[in-house]
């Protein structure tokens, strides 16, 4: 049988038979990841389960990114628990400052087409951009995977998202995924896979695809997968991944539903407090004052995002009533941004550059807003309290919209600066 969803193709490669949507299967996991908010509990569960060794130290990574460097003694002690586990079992540990887990896993060549990857972090769906079925799990499941190398899955049905048209100037992949969140709602794809198709895909860079796959979970999806093309192969090779199989989409496969989005008329999109699916076009909400901007995270902390922001901030200064915080998604990206002069541009514009990590997005440190303040951020979540203060208001947008808004001190259409 030829006509299969990407999800069915990936599971078939592990089961060596045709999977059926809705069936529960146990499969070998190709890679597993945990971060510092979830790994300590996974390590505790590992020992409670009687774990004595890990199934394959080369297929597991632990990342110190959510509170890195540690802002308090509690987190410091949990970091040491992870360091000790890593030493004891030979598991790869990414130290503080190396970057955000969802950049590090693909950047290190750990993710590729047909892989089934699990991570104790909900944004593990990010690696769908390189053709992996990757999804978030909890700490107990990470422990079970570290011991056995296996996990159970219910084979999800798939929605085909057909992207067409041409992105207008000032409109980016972040605007597409925010618009999709508006259309589908926060639970519009629960228990399902989003599979991306359409003529627009070839125009999207890998960085742009990572942004879209990253936010698949914001509509409840298990995964958000792109087919593999030349751009995917080139990106994977340049990041040390050599075994790359073709993974193409069968448009006539048994998709549960199809949603077509033509982006040619799309405006910059903004998610308003306190929901990711509470999305408006910029022309409807311009001029709301902001006190803080944040560019970074696993959604938009990659080199293309920094370049987009730098082009707007170059030879300009941020509004005196605004703080702009910028964090690169990894050390590698940080160095590249330095070489390309983006970091200099940010600092000259008055921004504060923080080390690679998750900090401000999850409210652990490095940019907790004050009571009543408005923040515009490139992150993926704007829940009340998300950045560490439940009396603040978070707006989500593209790096261009955040940069433009920090220049004026109010939510601003980036096309004014392009």
């Amino acid at each position: 049988m030829s006509h299969k969803t990407l999800t069915e193709k990936i599971f078939e490669s592990h089961l060596h038979r045709e999977p059926k949507v809705g069936e529960v299967v146990v499969v070998d996991v190709d890679f597993a990841m945990g971060q510092d908010g979830t790994s300590p509990l996974a390590i505790q569960k590992f020992y409670e389960m009687g774990g004595e060794k890990v199934f394959d130290p080369g297929k597991i990574a632990l990342v110190l990114d959510h509170g890195a460097p540690s802002p308090n003694e509690g987190i410091s002690n949990l970091h040491n628990m992870m360091r000790e586990f890593s030493r004891k079992y030979g598991v790869k540990l990414f130290e503080i400052g190396m970057g955000i887990c969802h950049q590090l896993v693909p950047e290190s060549g750990f993710a590729g087409p047909y892989d089934i990857i699990v991570g104790a972090d909900s944004h593990t769906c990010t690696y769908g951009a390189v053709g992996a079925f990757s999804t978030g799990i909890g700490s107990s499941e990470l422990a079970a995977v570290m011991i056995s190398g296996k996990l159970w899955f219910k084979i999800p049905s798939s929605m085909r998202i057909v992207l067409s048209g041409k992105l207008p100037t000032g409109v980016y992949s972040k605007d597409i995924i925010l618009y999709l969140a508006k259309v589908l709602g926060a639970d519009g794809a629960t228990y399902k896979t989003l599979e991306f198709d359409g003529e627009l895909i070839s125009q999207l860079s890998m960085d742009a695809r990572f942004t879209i796959s990253n936010m698949a979970v914001e509509v409840g999806a298990k995964a958000g997968i792109f087919p593999v093309d030349e751009k995917t192969k080139e990106w994977l090779k340049s990041h040390g991944r050599m075994d790359i199989s073709d993974l193409s989409i069968d448009s006539d496969a048994n998709y549960e539903s199809v949603l077509e989005i033509n982006v040619s008329e799309l405006e910059p999109q903004i998610a308003l407090p306190h929901r990711v699916d509470n999305v408006a076009s910029i022309s409807d909400i311009e001029d709301i004052p902001i006190q803080q901007g944040f560019i970074g995270t696993c959604t938009n902390g990659r080199i293309e995002d920094l370049e987009i922001a730098a082009n707007i901030l170059k030879d300009r200064e941020i509004n005196p009533n605004v703080r702009l915080i910028i964090g690169c998604a990894s050390r590698k990206i940080y160095l590249e941004a330095m070489e390309k002069g983006f970091i200099r541009t940010f600092i000259d514009a008055g921004a504060t550059v923080i080390n690679p990590g998750c900090g401000p997005c999850v409210g652990t440190h490095a940019g907790v807003p004050a009571d009543g303040e408005n923040v515009i951020s490139t992150a993926n979540r704007n829940f009340k309290g998300r950045m560490g203060n439940n009396k603040a208001f978070i707006y989500l947008a593209s790096p261009a919209t955040v940069a433009a808004s920090c220049l004026t001190g109010k939510i601003t259409d980036p096309r004014r600066f392009l």
Binding site: V26, G37, S140, E141, A186, V362
Partner: protein, 166 residues
Amino acid sequence: MILYGVAHKIGDDINTDYIISGKYKFKTLDMKDLSTHLLEDIDPEFTKKIKPGDFIVAGKNFGCGSSREQAPLVIKYAGLGGVIAISFARIFYRNAINNGLPLVECDTSNINDKDELRIDLESGILEDITKGFKIVVNPLPPFMMELLKNGGLVNYFKKYGGFSIG
């Protein structure tokens, strides 16, 4: 498994950041301590209102957002007997069952705050004792029922040494 308790009604799309805020959960593995902050960002008085065995009764998409397993754990450590919702986000659903926290998926629109409830998990019947009606709930998949009966994934793994399906 028969459960009795009082309903504490909350809305749709309650995310795991609301269940336990990131500003607390990264610091400690002491779930009893974390459980004092349960749902603090949406109702600072929530933990004062609940009694052991009571239920959270929610709308759709309960537990969306972050994968943090601390979310079902703090609900359990706060003494609650389970969560009843129209639908659950998938990672939370797995995490809850993996920790032996009962979840019931059914139409919750006719259950009011403070209603007294009785749930028979095996037969899949929820009874609103206060109102005098019964609801047939969506059954747990057999494998998840097995996990729940074993008290969660740790006990299951100790018993079987791995996943015994498929």
